[in-house]
């Protein structure tokens, strides 16, 4: 303490001396900094006089001014985020400088783990996406918006439900039972990506917690992919890290007030189709006759259920299911700064309806980012995000009491209403209109992401930053099933109320040292050490009630029968870390990092994990022999290797031997064994090697980044299935290994650049190959116990295990399957892996064109090679086995007479001799029971994600209206899709609450096709 205060005193004295010095000499040097392309002044650029401590920031007019004792000529170092820094030798007191904006990625200063670094010297694989590239897309979550924008990142919206779950993978699935989601960091805050919603939506991941962040507040996103970039996050880093940096003001910048809005109208990209009433009746009759024949009865003996199929009516359920959904977005922000403080204030409102009634999502967000230089040495600041989200949830879409199933599955000849006007229900299914009109599932979330920090500069280059962060999610759900829907009929109304809290608290200290020394400052060091303390707390309290006096009473408290439950889980993580990077002569960089983590989740024997990494970079473009080629503006090779870890996704108490409580009987408390102890449980580790090359040619007009990686994850945190006779189903162990290997290529080009016309193209493509290298035994799961998804050594995760249908016998009309074990019969041993849900490659192509005031851009996303299990076909091409379910038109392609060639077998419900291959029993039931490759489809697609046309109003008009800029635009999202997939939408993953059951299409809301119009205004 004594040292600190004496040092403070010393600094204060130095400061005072400088002021005296300035007062004595009083020489003025000034200039103006502008954008080279637009000629607009740049406010907030940093100007530093080489060889001095003098540094100023340009004002709102781009002007800077020094009072200094320096004599001309002086050398200025001028830098500005997003522009190429410049060195300028000034021989006059007044200069004008223009900065080139960084069109590609290669020159930026970017945020990496706990520090910012110049991209040139980074040996890790990091991709940056500017906030501008993400704005105005009508989707709630930032992570969803990264689809096709960054190499190595695979993003799929699991459904078209607004604010709904997103599958987000960086370089493939690393794990089986632990989490495969990346670490998200917003302005230094580790945020929770745990879905707080309790209301069931089938097996879909209910919500996207990242949707609590307003994309408009985002300045940039960096995605950290390789071990060198992520090892500094140790046990949190194995799945990659997404660092989100929000907008901050600039010193000495005039307030800039922006207002943006857009309005959108959406339709589903496709709608369901089912057979008409007469077709359904015809198929039913045919199935009945065929079954009789198969069972050895004379066909004449069959009493046809529909003697006159043609007379049946057809009721359309889909017009009531879908709607033209509205989207509205409003944003208001102010940004600026004074001499020693900066601010950004943003307000946003976003509302999006689902194209399938009645879900919707609404977000109200507010952000305050504030920094203040209390002294030259001490800077304090805060970043606070407040968001309120509200969702109308449509529970259990892929359950008979869900909206889509209730519209899709009942037979089309059945009326929607009973003759007395009440809702009609059939079999297991509810009435879709009853659900749409009466569903009352309201989820309100409050999210606070906040950070307070203080940064103290001891010496130039030596800084200590301490920061305190909170991410508090509080979700309050109130559901009421009234007596008009199936879920509420029996109990006279039922209600549930859930209060869920996810809290992440982080404290961190980082000491950074950046220094250049030696002759010509050839030696550069960038080093840091630090520690973090991290606590994660999840709590839930649930109250349920049954029996209500009236449908107008919806509170749990007034139910006849009430019950409650609660849960709580807390885990802690202690970490120490350090990293250092040394650059010689702007050419060679060596860096290394080490992190030590201890987690409360693990067994006492193995709490600590150590995660080292190292990398080298060679900027060949700095070598004379490359410079002499006059070809490369930049050429850089990099290589890195390291370890990172994973502990997310397992229970807080996973290593402990436990008896669960709540196994009650006769209202007396009960306990039962629930988990066996594993005191050796420890980190799942990922070893990753990455080599990359980056180059820019043709005056930076063509930028290329190419990466190869090999990621091997071992000691998987695996729920190893154990013999049931143990009384346990599985045991969490460190066992197994998964490998992800891939290639990533990003190409950015400036195709045309003239005074009025500019055309740029960004293309990226990522290949990833996943393979389970080691597994204790096969793990089969998915599709409500049908076990279609399998994890098997030697195959990728998300593989599908099915009976492979070879053909439909043209003579008998019966399906013939591959008899894998050649035993002559069809048994469960004849299931085989017939594909997987992971794409071979994904990518995006963006074109931006601007001509004078007009801008036009379009963005394609593509993925290839993934398979989708079409569960709608699975259920609705049932050959008659499902008495209460209708058919989709694909059933009409069934075999009818000898000679017919088709893949849809003859209709029958006979179940005799199910092990006979090519017998009627396995057409739709029997041992195969529809679990055949007949319903597995190629899910590759190419989609025009966005296309937009904008117009910047001319300066004259804008100024007359006292704006500084104004843009109007129209945009279409998901306008075109090219695919062979036969379901509604290839962008789907209905069983996403389990990462190992990807690639199902099951009564899921398709993506919306949206047309929007918007305006952006700045004052």
């Amino acid at each position: 303490m004594y040292h600190l205060s004496s040092r403070l005193l010393l600094f204060s004295l130095l400061l005072l001396l400088q002021v005296f010095a300035v007062a004595q000499q009083n020489v003025g040097l000034s200039g103006k900094v502008t954008d080279a392309a637009t000629k607009q002044p740049l406010a907030g650029a940093t100007v530093h006089i080489r060889g001095t401590t003098h540094q100023v920031v340009t004002n709102a007019d781009g002007q800077f001014f020094f009072q200094t004792g320096q004599r001309l000529p002086v050398t200025y170092d001028i830098s500005y985020v997003g522009y190429q820094p410049i060195q300028l030798r000034a021989t006059t007191a007044q200069v004008e400088v223009s900065l080139q904006s960084n069109s590609g990625q290669l020159g930026d200063v970017i945020v990496t783990g706990y520090s910012t670094q110049n991209r040139k010297f980074i040996s890790g694989s990091i991709v940056s996406v500017s906030g501008n590239a993400l704005k105005d897309i009508p989707a709630a979550g930032v992570n969803q918006l990264l689809q096709g924008k960054a190499t190595g990142v695979q993003v799929i919206a699991n459904s078209g439900v607004p604010g709904g779950g997103v599958t987000f993978r960086i370089r493939g699935n690393n794990s089986i039972n632990a989490s495969v989601d990346p670490l998200y960091i917003v302005d230094g805050v580790f945020i929770s990506n745990t879905d707080p919603i309790q209301t069931g939506l089938g097996n879909q991941q209910q919500s996207n917690p990242i949707a609590d962040i307003n994309p408009a507040d985002i300045e940039s996103i960096q995605v950290l992919k390789d071990a060198n970039a992520t090892a500094i996050y140790g046990s949190l880093g194995a799945n990659g890290v997404v660092i989100i940096t929000t907008k901050r003001g600039r010193l000495n910048a005039k307030a800039k007030i922006s207002f943006n809005t857009y309005q959108g109208w959406s339709q589903p990209i496709n709608k369901f189709k089912v057979t008409t009433g007469p077709q359904t009746a015809l198929l039913t009759n045919e199935s009945r006759i065929n079954t009789a024949i198969d069972n050895g009865l004379p066909p004449g003996s069959v009493v046809l259920p529909f003697p006159n199929p043609d007379t049946l009516p057809t009721y359309d359920r889909f017009s009531g299911l879908f709607r033209t959904a509205r989207t509205s977005n409003y944003e208001l922000s102010a940004q600026g700064g004074t001499e020693n403080s900066t601010y950004y204030v943003g307000l946003g409102y976003f509302k999006q309806e689902s194209v399938v009634r009645p879900s919707q999502f609404e977000r109200l967000s507010a952000r305050l980012n504030y920094d203040n230089y209390l002294t030259r040495q001490l800077k304090v600041g805060t970043s606070i995000n407040l968001a309120r989200t509200q969702r109308n949830l449509s529970g259990s879409d892929n359950n008979p009491q869900g909206v889509i199933n209730s519209a899709l599955f009942p037979r089309s000849y059945l009326p929607i209403f009973n003759p007395n006007g009440t809702y009609a229900r059939y079999g297991s299914f509810d009435n879709h209109l009853a659900l749409i009109e009466n569903l009352n599932n309201d989820a309100v979330g409050w999210r606070t992401i906040g950070n307070l920090y203080a940064e103290y500069t001891f010496l130039p280059g030596l800084k200590l930053k301490s920061s305190w962060s909170i991410d508090n999610t509080s979700e309050y759900e109130n559901n009421y099933n009234n007596t008009l829907i199936s879920a509420g009929i029996a109990t006279n109304g039922s209600a549930a109320s859930y209060e869920t809290k996810n809290l992440v608290l982080t404290n961190e200290q980082v000491l950074t040292y950046i220094k250049s020394f030696g002759k010509g400052r050839k030696h550069n060091i960038n080093a840091l050490v630090g520690n973090t303390l991290n606590t994660v707390l999840s709590q839930n309290t649930t109250a349920t009630g049954f029996g209500f006096a009236s449908n107008d009473l919806t509170a749990v408290s007034v139910a006849a029968t009430r019950s409650g439950s609660s849960s709580r889980a807390e885990s802690k993580l202690v970490s120490f870390f350090g990293k250092a990077s040394y650059t010689f002569d702007n050419k060679y960089t060596f860096d290394g990092s080490l992190r030590a983590d201890a987690s409360s989740k693990f067994g006492v024997n193995n709490q600590w994990g150590y995660f080292p990494s190292g990398g080298v970079t060679w900027r060949a473009s700095q070598e004379p022999f490359i410079q002499n080629l006059n070809l490369f503006d930049e050429l850089k090779f990099r290589a890195s290797a390291g370890l990172s870890g994973n502990q997310n996704g397992i229970g807080s108490y996973a290593a402990q031997g436990l008896w669960a409580s709540g196994a009650n009987y006769l209202e007396q408390p009960g306990t039962a064994p629930s988990q066996l102890a594993n005191p050796n449980l420890t980190w799942e580790s990922t070893r990753q090697v990455d080599v990359g090359v980056e180059f820019a040619v043709l005056k930076n007009r063509l930028n290329v980044v190419l990466d190869f990686y090999d990621k091997y994850t071992y000691d998987l945190l695996l729920n190893v299935p154990v013999p049931n006779r143990s009384g346990f189903a599985s045991y969490l162990q460190n066992y197994g290994a998964v490998r992800n290997k891939g290639t990533e290529l990003a190409i950015n080009t400036v195709n045309v650049e003239t005074k009025d016309f500019r055309w740029t193209t960004d293309f990226n493509i990522s290949w990833n190959r996943n393979r389970i290298e080691k597994l204790a035994s096969d793990i089969a799961q998915g599709a409500s116990g049908r076990n279609i998804s399998i994890l098997k050594q030697g195959y990728p995760v998300n593989s599908f295990q099915l009976y492979r249908q070879l053909y439909v016998d043209a003579q008998t009309g019966n399906a013939v399957y591959e008899d894998v074990n050649k035993d002559g019969g069809i048994t469960s041993a004849d299931r085989q892996i017939v594909g997987n849900a992971l794409p071979n490659y994904t990518g995006g192509l963006t074109n931006n064109l601007s001509y004078k005031g007009f801008d036009f851009n379009f963005f394609w996303y593509f993925q290839q090679g993934n398979k989708i299990m079409n569960m709608n076909d699975f259920f609705l091409v049932h050959g008659g086995t499902q008495a209460n379910i209708g058919f989709v038109p694909r059933q009409l392609e069934r075999w009818q007479k000898p000679g017919d060639v088709t893949d849809i077998p003859r209709l029958t419900t006979s179940s005799l001799n199910p092990s006979v291959n090519g017998g009627p029993a396995n057409n739709y039931g029997g041992n195969v029971a529809n679990l055949s490759s007949r319903y597995l489809r190629d899910g590759s697609f190419l989609r025009l994600k966005t296309i937009s046309l904008g117009y910047n109003l001319p300066t004259g008009v804008v100024q007359k209206a006292r704006f500084s800029s104004a843009r109007v635009y129209v945009q279409a999202t998901n306008l075109l899709t090219f695919t062979n997939y036969n379901g509604l939408d290839p962008e789907v993953s209905s069983q996403s609450s389990n990462q190992n059951t990807a690639g199902y299409d099951w009564a899921t809301v398709p993506q919306p096709k949206t047309i929007q119009a918007g305006i952006n205004i700045s004052f």
Partner: protein
Amino acid sequence: MKHTLFYSLALLALSLSSCKKYLTETPNNALPTGNAIIDAGTSRAAINGAYDAVQNYYAANYPTLGTITADNVVFNGTLSQYLQLDQNAIPADNVTTVAAYQGIYRAINSANSIIAAVPGVQDPLLTQAEKDKILGEAYFIRALSYFDLGRGWGGVQIQLKPTENFESLKGVKRSTLEQTYDQVLADLTRAEQLVPEDATTRNRVQKSAVRALRARLHLYRKQWADAAAYATQVIDNPKFSLVLPYKTFFTAPFLSPESVLELTFSVNDRNSFWNLWYPSSLGGQFTLKPSAGIVEKLNNPNIGGTRNALLAGSGASVYGTLYNTFATSTDPAYLIRIAELYLIRAEARAQLNDLAGAVADLNKVRARAGVPLLPEAGKENLLLAIEEENSVEFAFEGHRWFDLVRTGRAGAVLGLTNTDYWLFPIPYQDVLSDPDVTQNPGY
């Protein structure tokens, strides 16, 4: 400077020692295994937990296995697991068979833990009588569990120790059905010694429940004299009687004199099995539907009589009402009713050629249902009549399938001539993860 160094080191030492403490987290809703059974309170909680495990597999899964597989109940829903059972084309990963198998072994592990730990508990609050009661109940639960495994899957692997680690499981092969049933008998014998004499309780095990299960075991093993003898012990107990009308036993508040053992559910511990039986217009899923055959029989005054109370609705939406507490979901799991003991004794007596005694027992059950009494008949016809009576009396309780398999009549009655399919498959997971298990033939 020296001071600074000293303080830093002290701080470091302090932070490292407190680090261990900082990193210790314990749940607030579960007990460490070492503290699971240590005193009176935890011993009682453990036996409640064992009952809860039986509840879990008897609430829906086990009764489903005994019904939809036979001819009284047909599949009417969407879930393939039920279609597979209805068609008797059951893959090794059929959800219902797996859940039942898993649930039964959970009950066994709970029982094993109690049998291992409770005798050693030293707590003055836990009297010897209570210890005996808890132990006896645990033996009964283990017996019931192995019995249910044996009749569903054949001879199984016998675990008699609580699972503490997976090494200790190694080397246990499947037993024969006789060996499994021998274990059941051994546990029932211990249970009968330990559990209390009958009082008014019907939802915890007392001596009659043990004897009733033993009667059933002897019936399954074709030990007719023992079956008749144990059935008689229960029938002669005035605690039990055939209630009138028939529907009383499945009408709230339950626990009627009909009941030898039922597991009680409550609004806090719900059994929503009704949901699988009721149509969606009444809030259910209608997956399990009475077959046309049983509907006809139950509605026939000469066959079903008052047992037509098991049906409601009309036309295409006739549904079963055995499980009917749709508002509260408090239907019990019906384990043993006194009617079963009469029919056990009837069958045993018939097999022992005491045809008059057999008919008398059969007619007790018929009389209660209000259907005409049967005259004395030949042995074979009488056995068929008893089989038929079982089918109607326990139309939606899990008896029919096991009865037809036990008597070898599943082929003749259900057309399921491949006897491999008379046993359920061992779960796929066990076949994959357990080198000691062998799959049942035909799967």
